[in-house]
């Protein structure tokens, strides 16, 4: 796992802002300056940050829709196959293919498939669970889940330059800028799951 800039021992620079508004303004500046490998860390979802940073739109909704469809068709087909082909029984004189009776289980299968896909799909697409991440070694990073708003610029960004980027981030109104140090473990991890 070789890394493109072995002279730098920095995974990313993390700039800290006091409010979501400051974060959004700064994020637009970062995007307009041409940084691509960026992210934000916030204690709660900040509306508009995805657009402000120019991140790609998520396709979770489509994924869950497909899962729901799969669950519904699968659940319905399971019952049709069992009651007409595999194990046909006459129950209260109903026809073998008594589809109104299959609706409740079809519905439950749809919800179950969609729900499981939503939860585990979110985790997998977010590359979680991941107990270690290079960012966790940054000074003051704990505040990102409790009250501070942060922008991350990764060192793999083509425009990244430790000194220049740091002063640029300060000019966007950051309260402080800290470097996330890179150990070998973190380097491998980052190369593995680039920018996820």
């Amino acid at each position: 796992m070789s890394h493109s800039s072995p002279q730098s021992n920095v995974y990313a620079l993390v700039a800290e802002y006091p409010t979501p508004e400051a974060l959004l303004t700064a994020a637009e500046k970062v995007r307009d300056a041409g940084y691509k490998r960026v992210d934000a860390l916030t204690p709660f979802p900040v509306h508009g940050i995805v657009e402000a940073l120019g991140l790609p739109k998520s396709r979770m909704a489509a994924l869950v829709f497909c899962a729901a469809l799969f669950g519904a068709i699968g659940g319905f087909y399971l019952q049709v196959w069992l009651t007409t082909q595999q194990y046909p029984l006459t129950i209260s004189g109903r026809p073998y293919f008594s589809w109104p009776n299959y609706i409740p289980v079809t519905f439950e299968c749809m919800v179950l498939a969609a729900g499981l896909t939503a939860f585990f799909g979110m985790l997998i697409r977010n590359r979680l669970p991941r107990p270690y991440h290079p960012l966790f070694a940054t000074r003051g990073i704990e505040a990102s889940t409790t009250g501070k708003f942060m922008i991350v610029v990764e060192s793999t960004d083509p425009k990244f330059d430790e000194k220049g980027t740091e002063s640029f981030l300060r000019s966007t109104g950051a309260e402080s800028v800290n470097a996330a140090p890179f150990d070998d473990f973190g380097r491998d991890q980052a190369a593995d799951g680039a920018a996820k």
């Binding site: 979501p20 508004e21 992210d39 934000a40 860390l41 916030t42 204690p43 709660f44 979802p45 900040v46 940050i49 995805v50 940073l53 991140l55 739109k57 998520s58 979770m60 909704a61 869950v64 399971l78 019952q79 069992l82 009651t83 595999q86 194990y87 029984l89 129950i91 209260s92 109903r94 008594s98 009776n101 299959y102 409740p104 289980v105 519905f107 439950e108 299968c109 919800v111 179950l112 969609a114 729900g115 499981l116 939503a118 939860f119 799909g121 985790l123 977010n126 979680l128 669970p129 991941r130 107990p131 991440h133 960012l135 966790f136 990073i141 505040a143 990102s144 889940t145 409790t146 996820k196």
Partner: protein
């Protein structure tokens, strides 16, 4: 409190041990009343669970921001209530260790479940409901666990919360997907919760028995579930609020809003009782229906019907008064009354309908045994015990949502 609950959990385990080693003959149910406390309690607990989903999912979709300070608590209640509920049908199977026969899987016996039975629908409904409730709850917890991890002082706390938070770091990409799936889970839970109690009601409505065989059941059961669920949330919330001083999080407004939901669903339930009486005594013209309703009111279990009307129909009308809604002590007593009333409702529907059906030669009486009560009180202790553990160890309020709300409020006032 926790100690008392723990003792009662002991009672539950004793009962289950006795039940599994002896058989379900230790319960009082037998022909003709083959369903009694077990199904009464099952429906009661499932109904209680529904308030959690309603508060967290439906109020989320309606953007009712006051839900934020009670949703975590109510969701936890859902999960524990569904656990209690699930125990009953499971143990009523007689050989609970063969419960997996209920699921469709290829087996050497070459048999498959019978999908035209509402009992089979129940298996799917309740297991899906439990799974989705747990996922929804954990999704909501994830950012708060990360926040706990970052504030944890001791090594043990750091490791435990670190593992539980799954490495959540509040990245913008993560939040984007998180927001979408939280909305989707809420959207899925909403019809799910309605379907679960509708399917539970079909366990009865699909049968031919007078008193069960009515089309009014699904909506009437769902309203009853919400009614008892909100009552149970308040039964727990009011003492917790007073004891821990959470009056800034759970305000008078919450009590007021929840009382109004109880009042509204209570009126729907009351309408259900009125319709049952009207159809049975007047409209159907069917002698069996007529007899069933008459027997419900004036038969040997008539006392339970009139207690039900008092508990669910008359006393909660006090909630029309704002003074009552804002008085936590009085409100707490009303929620207890509603909990009792909703339990009686299921008792009336199940036991009274079963004990005298079409042919007098198959009539009988039902008397619960001490093991019936052991099981019932035991699950209440289990529920209380789990709630105590929850309050002690898991963030009771949705921290990140409260922060977001606080921020919104601040920027609006600028």
């Amino acid at each position: 409190m926790m100690g008392i609950c723990f003792l009662i959990v002991g009672l539950l385990f004793t009962t289950i041990t006795k039940l599994v080693t002896t058989g379900i003959g230790i319960w009082g149910n037998n022909q003709p009343v083959a369903w009694a406390f077990d199904i009464v309690n099952f429906v009661w607990w499932i109904g209680i669970g529904h308030a959690g989903t309603l508060i967290s999912a439906i109020l989320f979709l309606f953007r009712q921001e006051w839900r934020t300070s009670i949703n975590r608590f109510a969701e936890a209640m859902t999960i524990f209530a569904v656990m209690c509920a699930g125990l009953y049908p499971l143990l009523h199977l007689g050989r609970p260790w063969l419960f997996y026969w209920l699921f469709p899987y290829p087996n050497v016996m070459q048999t498959w479940p019978q999908f035209r039975s509402p009992l089979m629908w129940d298996v799917f409904a309740v297991s899906t409901y439990f799974t989705i409730s747990v996922l929804f709850w954990y999704t909501g917890l994830l950012p708060d666990l990360a926040s706990l991890r970052d504030r944890a002082k001791s090594r043990i706390a750091q490791v435990i919360t670190g593992v539980a938070a799954l490495g959540w770091r509040g990245s913008a990409r993560h939040w984007q997907r998180y927001d979408i799936i939280y909305l989707l889970l809420a959207g899925l839970s909403t019809p799910l919760v309605l379907s679960v109690h509708s399917i539970v009601s079909l366990d009865f409505a699909v049968a031919q028995l007078p008193g069960w065989h009515t089309t009014i059941f699904p909506p009437y059961f769902v309203a009853g579930a919400v009614y008892s669920g909100f009552a149970m949330v308040l039964t727990f919330m009011i003492p917790v609020r007073a004891f821990f001083g959470f009056k800034d999080f759970v305000t008078q407004r919450h009590l007021d809003a929840m009382s109004k939901v109880m009042l509204a669903t209570g009126l729907i339930v009351l309408y259900g009782y009125a319709m049952e009486a009207f159809v049975g005594l007047v409209y159907s013209g069917n002698p069996n229906e007529y007899f069933q309703m008459h027997n419900r009111m004036f038969g040997p279990y008539g006392w339970s019907y009139w207690m039900l009307i008092t508990c669910n129909g008359i006393i909660p009308q006090l909630l029309w008064l704002k003074r009552v809604r804002l008085n936590p002590v009085l409100l707490w007593f009303i929620t207890i009354v509603i909990n009792i009333g909703m339990w009686l409702e299921r008792f009336v529907i199940i036991v009274i309908s079963l004990h005298r059906d079409f042919v007098p030669s198959s009539w009988g009486m039902y008397f619960p045994t001490k093991w019936d009560f052991g099981m019932f009180i035991g699950t209440m202790g289990f529920f209380g015990f789990m709630m105590c553990l929850f309050i002690r160890f898991i963030p009771m309020f949705a921290g990140f949502e409260l922060r977001e709300l606080l921020h919104k409020k601040k920027s609006h006032s600028h």
